[in-house]
Symmetry: C2
Subunit: 341 residues, 2 copies
């Protein structure tokens, strides 16, 4: 099916020079006389020549390609992050291979191996790992295995290990601060909603618990609710809840939107009777009515930062000192709270 493409030999012949000269022209560098360069460039453009990346890779030992592993690209937070990462990589002459691994460890592992077999220069794991959850210490074993071959970067999932670089949000602090504010304002029955036991979810939960404890509010198990990551799932869970509550801190914006749906359905006025805080400050916040107050976890900054460090690791031989970068969040107030931005 695939037609034969022109290769460097064809170009060389047409331009009446050697392949070395064509290669030199292609790579801009080196010393080629202006006359020859022009002649060769003409042929290259006329024939629409683009070098074969594999052949280049063989010689150069790099394909300038980075693998991105994302559990679910249709999640707005993930897709926004991928967009930023792709942009950053592209600006630096790298391309990305995307792989949607699902949330299961087995899929992640398989996809990571697939990416490695494509000789990516580095790997980015996007989204939460379960590292440190204590439930199963080898849940991140495959990340360490991958790191034996290429530098690995994790975003919002911290894994300790050689050749592994992590960027995480100060999730605990962020939730702690916002919960405190809610309590200070008079809320006495806040609940925390999450859909997973991921690394970052655990941090958020910790922040929530700490704030409650400090304020002398009993943090019983029932104030930390496990929900499905869908709008209706959350709404229904809240509708059927027996115990009362007067504030919701959600682990992501989708869950928060579900809480807003609940409030609208149950006719509880926002923010007077109930306050809701989302997480991620994603595109959803403005779609929601009233618009959603949310904790901005600085996706763009985090992604840009990750890409920058990656380029450093890949292109400088001196080791990058910062293995773990913590990026703080910022609470953005909109219509679902009234605690001061």
């Amino acid at each position: 099916m695939k037609k034969d493409k022109v290769n460097i030999y064809d170009i060389a012949e047409m331009a009446g020079v050697s392949i070395a000269t064509v290669s030199r022209v292609m790579n801009g560098s080196d010393k080629v006389s202006e006359k020859t360069r022009k002649k060769v460039m003409e042929v290259i453009e006329r024939e629409d020549f683009t070098p074969n990346a594999f052949a280049q890779g063989l010689g150069l030992h790099t394909m300038h390609t980075v693998g991105i592993l994302v559990p679910d690209i249709s999640d707005p937070y993930m897709s926004a992050a991928v967009a930023w990462i792709e942009k950053g990589l592209s600006e630096n002459g790298y391309d990305c291979i995307l792989s949607c691994s699902g949330f299961e460890q087995e899929g992640k592992q398989r996809h990571a191996e697939m990416l490695l077999s494509k000789s990516v220069d580095a790997l980015i794991f996007l989204g939460s790992t379960y590292a440190g959850s204590g439930r199963n210490p080898d849940e991140t074993e495959y990340i360490r295995k991958a790191a034996a071959q290429v530098p690995v970067f994790t975003i919002n999932g911290y894994v300790e290990g050689a050749n592994i670089y992590s960027s995480v949000n100060a999730d605990e602090e962020a939730v702690y601060e916002v919960t405190k504010k809610l309590i200070r304002k008079g809320r006495r029955k806040p609940v925390f909603l999450t859909d997973s036991g991921s690394y970052s979810a655990l941090k958020k939960r910790k922040g929530f618990e700490r704030a409650l404890k400090e304020c002398g509010i009993e943090a019983d198990e029932s104030s930390m609710i496990h929900v499905r990551n869908t709008i209706y799932g959350v709404r229904d869970a809240l509708l059927s809840r027996k115990k009362s509550f007067d504030a919701v801190i959600a682990a992501n914006d989708i869950i928060a939107v579900g809480a807003v749906k609940y409030a609208n359905t149950a006719k509880r006025k926002l923010p007077e009777e109930l306050e809701i805080v989302g997480y991620n400050n994603s595109g959803l916040v403005r779609v929601c009515e009233p618009e959603l107050s949310s904790i901005d976890n600085k996706t763009e900054k985090m992604c840009r930062d990750t890409v920058k460090r990656m380029i450093e690791v890949l292109e400088n031989e001196d080791p990058v000192e910062n293995k773990k970068v913590v990026i703080s969040c910022e609470f953005v107030e909109r219509g679902t709270t009234d605690i001061g931005g």
Copy 2:
């Protein structure tokens, strides 16, 4: 950084066989005696040997990899589509390289060339092209160029040409039908909102105009409004509009949400005083309040279908007959209209 890896020569030497035999063992196929296979496998496992992908790519001319070009992955419609495509490809043993090209032709072209240089087996162009707009016939020249090298599949952007396969929605029909319904119900001043002059936008517009003409409503230019693809952009455009209108048909859900924002801001009751129809039936429809009536363009079906045809084209030599597949849409009624689902 990358460790020096063992290669096939090392394995061959250690196992006391030739590289050809090792290669045969690796690829499972061919006839190798059980004894040799075992001996070689042992060394392979012990040394953790994985073949170099560059070299494989050079030899094989296929990496079971498909390139996906998407203008903007953070758009919920696009990311949902990518998720479906990735899933389908993955199920068939293919991987995908994602490239976010932006909406400009120049970027699309550059990214397409990049993907081709990576020896992808096929290319998928996601989202609207400007083919047939008449404004510039070579706007799709680069797609044809790409098709000279590998089969090209376009989703919602029809391009005529050899080796090009398209899947498009019956956009004109869908908009025509829903507009008719609105008019029949009594709406006399519908407006159509779009952010682009893309192929599918033009079809939608055509359907809108046709419905108006048939019903004897004057379709002046001002009833087809060009807006930015942001919620506030649309809201503000509508707020500042002088001429009155009583129904909105939007080219996508984001625009429709903007119209809902407008209605909420201007205190126009939905759906009594104003009816709004979105397009794509994306995740946003349920976030919106009231929930958004939208035209479902069957993203999953379209993506699955595209992947299926692609596999056929790639793996069977007999030509696939259907170069252009049209997939019909379905209007889904929610809170922003009252015309009957």
